[in-house]
Symmetry: C2
Subunit: 291 residues, 2 copies
């Protein structure tokens, strides 16, 4: 199965960014991609650098104009497309939502980001209500897609639950970057940890994984910080966590790889982790802390 992951920067308007992304999807289609994965909240600069009620005006219902635009691209190029949107579910109720479009342009399913971060420059708890759809893979013509979003990638539970529900692939649209005031050593540790924990999910579950992050520096509208340098580094790994394709930290890139779905079966036979899980002893996972 030929997959592509599109790592890009944002233009100065939503419209220009969407048109730019459309041109990159076109290129991915020319490479033969049957599945194209976009980065988190790809229509815009990362607006969570500040808390501003006006920004909620960017949210759209699903389906809505933005998802219609990408649905048309999926149909035009006859590929399965995974996008990420600021969803307006109701007045005062917003989500960070991934949408999977089928080759005919239909919406195959949606996933609402379950784990919501909040730290300086990433004020997501202000904007996004935590997802309420659980960890359910989305059935498509190219397989069952375990779509998760950014902060979810630090949680082994999310990857495990998608796997147990039959996911064939784990996908992580992402927007993560550096505080430019951090030391280069701290920046290197953060980027490496981000890659490593996700490779760990691929390994623990014997499943291929695609992670897509944006690139570029985006300024802080409040001027309180020096903005975020998004670190790119999108990657595709196989079911042993082995690198299949990698992008760098700075450039726009279309990662492409022909994933062999039979590899999952082969790896799970030599490493039958699922066989030996101690489900009788995992009950406390649903505790906040074992005081």
């Amino acid at each position: 199965m030929k997959v592509a992951a599109i790592q890009h920067a944002c233009k100065d308007t939503t419209q220009k960014t969407m048109e730019h992304t459309a041109s990159l999807i076109r290129q991915a289609a020319k490479l033969g991609a049957e599945l194209v994965v976009l980065q988190e909240l790809h229509c815009d600069v990362y607006f969570c650098q500040t808390e501003n009620v006006e920004t909620c005006g960017k949210a759209e219902p699903i389906p809505g104009p933005q998802t219609d635009f990408f649905a048309a691209l999926a149909k035009e190029h006859a590929l399965v497309l995974v996008g990420s949107f600021f969803e307006r579910r109701a007045s005062g109720l917003y989500h960070n939502t991934a949408v999977v479009f089928e080759k005919n342009g239909d919406i195959a399913g949606t996933y609402r980001k379950m784990h919501i971060p909040d730290d300086p420059g990433f004020y997501e708890k202000f904007y996004f209500t935590p997802g309420d759809k659980g960890f359910t893979p989305i059935q498509t013509s190219v397989g069952k897609l375990g779509v998760l979003v950014c902060w979810d990638q630090w949680y082994p539970e999310a990857a495990r639950l998608m796997t147990l529900a039959g996911a064939d692939l784990l996908l992580y649209p992402t927007a993560i970057g550096w505080d430019t005031n951090d030391s280069s050593e701290e920046q290197a540790r953060q980027r490496e940890a981000w890659i490593t924990v996700q490779r760990g999910h691929a390994i623990a579950n014997g499943i291929p994984l695609i992670s897509v992050n944006r690139v570029g520096h985006e300024t802080d509208p409040s001027g309180k910080s020096t903005g975020i340098q998004f670190w790119g580094s999108s990657f595709i790994v196989g079911p042993q966590g082995e690198f299949l394709s990698e992008a760098n930290e700075l450039d726009e890139h279309i990662l492409s790889y022909d994933i062999n779905p039979k590899q999952t079966e082969a790896v799970r036979r030599i490493w039958p982790f699922l066989r030996d899980r101690r489900i009788d002893a995992y009950g406390d996972i649903t505790s906040r802390w074992l005081d």
Copy 2:
């Protein structure tokens, strides 16, 4: 806290191997180690290459002569020592058990390996009854130790449960190696996956981790295979999964590092993963598969 991990090969008798290990513990003590971690089933060659009822004669009660030997070493050098033994709990009931010795030689606690592997050359399900003590860290004078054993290292649930129960460190005594008939590419993928999935546990839980593996080639007594080449590669990582100390694939080695326990607190403040866990949505983790 000065920690040491002892990676070694086995001698041709249990007695010689134990004496060799004692000399390595003595060296670690001279380096100032307060905590010393030994590899899995360190008193012997890895006897699970074949299924042989006679081998059960090697198992000992705990406490027993082998644990008395290591308890005396812990006391002599006034250090906390983590060993790994073939436990005879009753006639026909054996476990793969880690034992933590306090600085005064007392047994601080034991952990019975929960996840038991079984694949060609690693016939552990024949010998070891799966543990029934759960994932409970062991309180010592140097902190709460989340002791897990080998195959447990592929299970994020085990690391998470130890963390939720207050572990300050994760420790993995291990015996893992290559089928020498595998290609060098496959061997590299396996070793890298083994390291990566454990670093992932450190990252996901914001906790330092020590993994100790044996080295050396051990022949298959049945002659059915070409034996196992244990790949060493013991390592110590910090709470961002960053390497603090690493051993190579071939040589005996005493890894040593002065771990800063305050680093866990610092990392968990910038990456507050524990804050955002969706414990309301993890219930299905206790399912074998979501059919």
